[in-house]
Symmetry: C2
Subunit: 409 residues, 2 copies
């Protein structure tokens, strides 16, 4: 039986040395929402002038805090802002009570930090369908306020974990007009990961000056290249939330046309997305699935996700079995365009199949050797056009069953 | 670790007492395609005048025998017919060689039984991407021919198994115009079960007289109420084939408007479909998911399959955890229409949730008691319209991982 408490073997070697992002402070406390003996609520306070963009789950049963954030994210405001997050209870499918609980929390934060309530964003993650004990959060607000520090992003990353086996953070620096601009973000997520529009809980901060509409379009575009291309188990959360805040404290303005900034932000987002996959429930293998030669990009993504979500492909990876027949099966069932006799498949650098059959030079021991790695690459070329997509996933192991047949999340 | 060799705990108590269907004979032999010491090839011979209908996988990477059957099923013929099936090798993704292997087998059967080649239907099930050793089949044809007997349907059911832990058969009798008409069928399937148009390997026989077009439309309609509503693991096979043959030997004519016959046939097909789910790889629970109150039937089925295929729902069932939050999640992600605040959910007779939250009378111990059963019912009412659908699935256990992380299928 898998040990469900130990850190994922795919975790990064060390936690990154996070920079201070001027204009935002963090704190985290133990509120005992569900977990005992660990921090489970985080607060972020952002300076006036901060712009905030967000993407959220498309679930039809999304949670009260998600609905609240979606409304607020559209508003223009020069006031400061706050983000409050709890772990242990998702406040999802909690009816009228859920709406009241969210409002109780955001009103209390607004009062405590002297902010308009419309600028307080909240997220909740954990068990679905149980009333959020919001008093446990609001009684901790003074303590959270007193602890606020620009250096406490690491504490925040810790407080938002549920089944995560490690805290997730990523950062980058870029020089624009001779001045440094910084980006740092945190994420949580391990199971129920098959983001639709956004994913899990992710908070990214930069001290750049960026107009709200620019920030939003940049975020939406990059989400489709990062968080929307990962899957752990094909199940989509009711609480997925990704907020990107630009404090402006560096005084450096970033336009929508700034490709260098966009690429740097993408690097940070992709790093966080990969960390979520690396902490996939029960994961022992990190798998990149690159599809090329599809009729179009959408078809390529459909094929790539069909492979990534196939239980038979994922268990073959877990068993280190180069069972490329299951990749063929997943392409066949995806519904996107494919011609069996034009297909080629690679495991790492090993050409496994081409023209609708096993490659004449294929030796199973070569592919089997690749499967022994912790990080695998499956490449599929459809031979139809120039559509392409890359997605990332993990394997399906006894650990996933152990976590989810016993743990109530 | 699960014992992957023992018979599913959900298997029927006994194998049915199959009737002889006049007009068709069966035989099965050991050909050593892949398995040793067990029968792995079956032959069925059908009398002249038999009509045959079929439905097949929609996979874009379907196998050579499936493509061959799809072409032949459209032809009208009064000649006799044959069905030849091997287990252990699916002859899928085998390029030109696969087409040649299929033709070698069907030509040899045609010669041996003195039939037109166009009336020889073949299926192959097992590993994908390896050349079919068709000589091992053709050298056994004389033996298969000599063994043909109306009483050997049970042997045929045994010979088509791969990871199946028990042989699957079902039968029924109906009196039409004062005369008995019989139906008997066999099936195989355990993993890679999420049929699209047809499913797995299923062969159903009746001695009724039924016109080919009537037989085909009856089969297509009933497939959408039976085999297309089951799922083990959301993975769709490259070889799914369902053939329905009417020998006419009873002399009793069945019209398309004969609801009694249609219902009897549906009962047999549903029994076989349920047996496939009961033999789902690693299954310990048989789950019926009934969705009502959807905007339309298609939406109801989308929701039902989203629940049935959710790894988090399936592991909760395995853990006997009445985790209805995961059912809410699966409805939310399905993409079909849902209003959170109109939803109600039942586990067995226990009303769990209504109006977007847990029911006021809900006691977890009631639902937990239901989850202990081998056979579970999850009911969802969307409160939107009159659309409904019922699907059947099994749980996701350590047994599934053990079978598929090790076994090369």
């Amino acid at each position: 039986m898998a040990d469900v408490t130990k850190v994922s073997p795919l975790a990064p070697k060390s936690f990154p040395d996070l920079p201070v992002i001027d204009g935002v402070e963090f704190s985290a406390v133990e509120a005992g929402i569900k977990y005992q003996g660990r921090k489970d609520v985080m607060l972020a306070r952002l300076v006036p002038g901060t712009t905030i963009a967000g993407v959220f789950t498309q679930s039809a049963t999304r949670s009260a805090p998600v609905l609240d954030c979606q409304r607020k994210i559209l508003l223009e405001s020069d006031a400061g802002a706050a983000i409050i997050v709890n772990a242990g209870n998702s406040n999802a499918f909690t009816g009228r009570n859920g709406v009241d609980a969210t409002r109780a929390v955001t009103n209390a934060v607004a009062d405590c930090l002297d902010l308009p309530e419309a600028r307080v964003f909240s997220s909740s993650t954990g068990v679905i369908g149980e009333p959020l004990p919001h008093d446990r959060i609001t009684t901790k607000l003074e303590e959270l306020k007193n602890k606020l520090s620009p250096a406490s992003l690491k504490d925040a990353a810790e407080a938002i974990r549920t089944t995560d086996t490690f805290s997730k953070a990523a950062c980058a620096k870029i020089i624009i007009d001779g001045k440094p601009v910084k980006i740092a973000g945190i994420a949580k997520g391990s199971g129920m990961i098959a983001p639709d529009m956004a994913t899990m809980l992710v908070y990214v901060f930069t001290d750049a000056v960026i107009e709200r509409s620019t920030l939003q379009s940049m975020l939406s575009e990059l989400t489709n290249l990062t968080f929307n291309n990962i899957t752990v188990d094909s199940d989509t959360s009711t609480s997925d939330t990704l907020l990107l805040a630009a404090t402006g404290a560096s005084g450096v303005t970033v336009e929508g046309t700034n490709d260098a900034f966009r690429e740097t932000l993408q690097t940070v987002m992709l790093d966080l997305a990969h960390q979520v996959v690396r902490d996939g429930e029960g994961a022992t293998k990190f798998v990149e699935i690159a599809v090329t030669g599809a009729a179009n990009d959408a078809d390529a993504k459909t094929h790539a996700l069909s492979i990534a979500n196939s239980p038979l492909v994922k268990t073959a990876v877990a068993g280190e079995d180069p069972n490329w027949g299951r990749v063929v099966m997943a392409i066949g069932k995806s519904g996107a365009k494919a011609d069996r006799d034009l297909l080629s498949i690679r495991f790492g650098d090993v050409l496994v199949a081409e023209n609708g059959w096993v490659s004449p030079d294929y030796r199973e021991e070569d592919a089997a050797a690749h499967m022994k790695n912790d990080e695998l690459a499956i490449g599929v070329d459809l031979g139809l056009g120039s559509g392409k997509a890359t997605v990332w996933t993990c394997d399906l192991t006894h650990g996933y069953i152990a976590i989810n047949a016993d743990y109530r999340s």
